[in-house]
């Protein structure tokens, strides 16, 4: 049984259907990439999984449990962390406070444990360590992105939903983030990743799903996607290294 299963999920913003019966599955321990153009429904898929947006119909199961229609808070408690696009760092809290808040679903964790985990996050992103006492809004866009990722990892999720983690990051940091994603999986976390940068995403992913206008176009292993000439030119872009 897959860790996450979506079956015929339909979701809409007002009159506009963003997902038109999407079916996909993520096995435990996998990194799965969701690819496709802007407006294909990638971010909506993550929003539906994390409960930020109720699906109109279809079933969502996480670890065998139906999660369709559950509140976001309840879904986080089951072990799903969503790092949304656009950073959303708490502007009036310090970087350290922002990061520690990410562990607020771990009710049994002691303060010391959370502090230790926060230190680990600064180990992963040494660039933001000098700013640990700075308020969130004072950081540059890319630094905020690092804080957002660290905050998501603090919840020690079973399933990590990552929306465009490379957005606005310097090439060096993008490489770093992708190393982190690979590390996170090695530690047993399953990752569902939305990316515009197909090249980067497929370099770490076990499988990829390509969406178009709310529907699945094709899915498969990275090699299979790259080898498919049509898929490559239409959705992945450029040549393979």
């Amino acid at each position: 049984m897959a860790l996450l299963e979506l079956e015929n999920v339909v979701a809409a913003y007002g009159n506009i259907r963003a997902l038109k019966g999407l079916t996909l599955a993520v096995e435990e321990g996998e990194i799965v990439a969701l690819l496709g153009a802007n407006g294909a429904g990638k971010s909506t898929t993550l929003r539906v999984i994390s409960g930020l947006m109720p699906p109109e119909s279809g079933t969502l199961r996480f670890a065998g449990r139906s999660i369709g229609g559950l509140a976001p808070g309840a879904i986080v408690k089951l072990g799903v962390a969503h790092i949304p696009e656009g950073r959303r760092v708490f502007p009036g809290l310090t970087v350290r406070e922002n990061i520690i808040l990410g562990g607020s679903n771990r009710e049994r964790a002691s303060r010391a444990e959370l502090e230790a985990d926060a230190e680990k996050m600064f180990g992963i992103f040494p660039e933001i360590k000098p700013f640990e006492a700075a308020l969130g809004w004072t950081l540059s866009g890319g630094q905020q992105q690092m804080v957002a990722i660290a905050r998501g990892l603090m919840s020690r999720p079973k399933l990590l939903l990552l929306d465009e983690p490379s957005l606005g990051l310097a090439p060096l940091i993008v490489q770093q983030v992708y190393r982190v994603i690979a590390d996170v999986r090695r530690d047993g976390t399953t990752v569902l990743l939305v990316e515009q940068n197909a090249h980067m995403a497929l370099s770490v992913a076990d499988r990829g799903y390509v969406l178009e206008t709310g529907q699945l176009v094709v899915h498969g292993k990275p090699e299979a996607l790259w080898d498919n000439e049509d898929v490559r030119t239409a959705y992945l872009g450029g040549r393979r290294t």
Binding site: N38, S140, L172, Q175, R239
Partner: protein, 598 residues
């Protein structure tokens, strides 16, 4: 050309439609005035209608300041009171004619509004709210306690009306005519340059100032207009009731005015009139409930606010649009965008010269003595690690942030001390890292605001044609009529570029235009940048996609920790060991892909 070609028939004239609308509106106004004159109304009904009409004029002022411009004004009853007391004291103590006293009232309200606006509109949000509350309180105290002048709590009786309109019926006719005229003015204001500037300030003040809107002056203008309408409504109110006293113009009344505009809907004059009518009539309708009527009245207001946050009119309009989606604007034949006529001089001269520019936030040196030279008709890229000061440098160049030291010269003019909107007037354009559009306005209006920057020469054919040309240039003229908030991310990026292009910039700053775009969209972006350069534009671009930067840039400047660490051609800079260590990392992802016109 994608634009549709009309077969033979002449395009529907905008003037014609406006003329028709005005004709209908004037007929309705005339009918209402005639009805007021000939209908035998009881004194009670006359009073209610007079109150509603004069209040509505003041509430329309709030439509301008709150609905259009997004600024809070909790002193509308004070301006209303200034108008009312001018007529009251003018026609009694000073023996002035009604019209003379009315003119003085409007003038005093205008001056009070302008002074209050000039002194307080640099503050925002709750500070402005507090300043207006204080002004309101002071005015109430003056009206109550300066007995020798205002006659204190006893109020002013026997206020005179104009000689020909001394009867209540004709006077109500005057109030209704005035209301129709003011509502028409407020409605038309929305589509003027000033009205668009107001909405731009409301939706995104920073973006508005960067594209050439003087946000402060716009807010002061809105505040003053609002005070004028408050004073005008108050002056008519005093004549209507022939008696005024300080308690009619208290803070509580300001709150009532505010509730009226929010309840009816602040975005359109119809909402103001609707909200005023409802809040004046509702208590009368509910009187049969006797002891609980106030509770029901309060409950009804709360329910409307919860379920119709945009007000009744806003709610009705949303429903209406769902039933009848707006017809897309037919762009017709779009003239190609005339860009940078004066600047198309690829002669290797310097267009932007930055010397020793620094910005220190406390101990942090965000930008530290940066020199930058941008040559005309080139694409200049600014790259560097996250937090290296790229966006701060752009903000310094735009005037959003004041430099600690250094100078900036654009095309030979020192702009170091100029505010953002004046820099836009000198030909600086800009897009933002996190898109900043005027989300409640249409795509076309967003671009028109860009075209209305100071000193922009809009070619013959008018603003709308020019704005459509800019939208066509980025390939989305077909979406001109849509609300910009309803567009996809990629399209919003293009609207932002079109808005900047419509201002005919000499130098265009693009802050991470490629972020969040997929490879197909990036291909299009590369082609767009190439076309812009072909039109003689100079571009300063920040982006992290080295494949794209390498392809479009003629020159690259690299920042790290606020300092320039490299500067030169792409091939030099991207091989620079410091740049590789600080920014690119061990791999060269740039080599794996290429974009665009290959």
């Amino acid at each position: 050309m994608r634009a549709s070609v009309r077969s033979g028939k002449s395009p529907p004239s905008v003037i014609g439609r406006r003329g028709l609308a005005f004709g209908l509106y004037a007929t309705a106004a005339l009918a209402a005035v005639v009805a007021a004159l000939i209908m035998p109304l009881s004194a009670y009904s006359l009073n209610l209608l007079m109150q509603a009409a004069t209040y509505a004029i003041a509430v329309l002022g709030l439509t301008i300041v709150l609905g259009y411009t997004g600024q809070i004004n909790l002193a509308q009853a004070a301006f209303f009171g200034i108008g009312a007391y001018s007529v009251a004291l003018g026609t009694t103590a000073f023996g002035l004619s009604f019209w003379g006293a009315l003119a003085i009232g409007v003038l005093v309200a205008a001056v009070a509004g302008a002074v209050l606006g000039l002194t307080s509109l640099r503050l925002g949000g709750h500070y402005l709210a507090m300043v207006t509350i204080s002004f309101q309180t002071i005015l109430t105290l003056v009206l109550t306690n300066w007995v020798a002048f205002t006659r204190g709590p006893d109020g002013v009786p026997n206020i005179r009306r104009p000689a020909l309109l001394a009867e209540s019926g004709p006077y109500l006719g005057l109030c209704i005519a005035a209301l129709f005229a003011v509502a028409w003015f407020v409605w038309r204001l929305k589509t003027t340059k000033l009205g668009r500037a107001m909405q731009a300030v409301r939706d995104n003040e920073l973006a508005a100032s960067v594209i050439g809107v003087d946000a402060y002056a716009t807010k002061v203008a809105a505040f003053t207009l609002s005070a004028v309408l408050g004073g005008f409504g108050g002056a008519l109110f005093a004549g209507g009731f022939t008696y005024v006293s300080p308690d009619q113009f208290s803070f509580a009344e300001s709150v009532v005015f505010l509730t009226m505009v929010l309840l009816g809907g602040a975005a359109a004059p119809a909402g103001a009139v609707l909200g005023t009518g409802l809040l004046i009539l509702l208590p009368e309708w509910l009187r049969f409930l006797k002891v609980i009527y106030l509770a029901v009245y309060g409950g009804a207001v709360i329910l409307i606010m919860i379920f119709m946050p945009d007000g009744i009119w806003g709610y009705a309009m949303t429903r209406w649009r769902l039933l009848r989606p707006a017809r897309p604007i037919d762009p017709g034949i779009i003239a190609p965008l005339a860009l940078a006529r004066e600047t198309a001089r690829p002669d290797d001269t310097v267009i932007l010269s930055v010397r020793g520019l620094s910005k220190h936030f406390g101990g942090l040196k965000a930008v530290d003595g940066v020199d930058l030279t941008i040559r005309r008709n080139t694409v200049h890229a600014l790259i560097g690690p996250n937090g290296s000061g790229k966006t701060t440098l752009l903000n310094l160049l735009n005037g959003i942030v004041r430099p600690s030291a250094g100078s900036v010269a654009l095309d030979g003019v020192d702009i170091t001390r100029l505010p953002p909107h004046r820099r836009a007037g000198h030909g600086l354009g800009r897009t933002f890292q996190n898109i900043r559009l005027f989300s409640a306005m249409s795509v076309l209006d967003n671009v028109i605001v860009g075209a209305e920057r100071p000193h922009n020469e809009v070619p013959a054919g008018g603003l709308e044609r020019h704005a459509l040309g800019a939208l066509d240039f980025v390939g989305i003229a077909a979406r001109a009529g849509a609300r910009v908030g309803s567009l996809s991310y990629g399209h919003q990026r293009r609207v932002e570029i079109a808005r900047a292009l419509a201002g005919n910039p000499k130098l265009l700053f693009l802050d991470e235009p490629g972020a969040g775009l997929n490879h197909v969209e990036k291909d299009e972006l590369v082609r767009l940048l190439t076309r812009l350069k072909g039109h003689g534009l100079t571009i300063l671009i920040i982006d992290h996609d080295m494949a794209m930067v390498e392809q479009v840039a003629d020159h690259i400047t690299v920042l790290n920790f606020g300092k320039r660490i490299a500067d030169g051609t792409p091939s030099e800079v991207l091989r620079h060991p410091d740049v590789i260590a600080a920014y690119l990392g061990e791999e060269r992802p740039a080599l794996s892909r290429s974009y665009g016109a290959s």
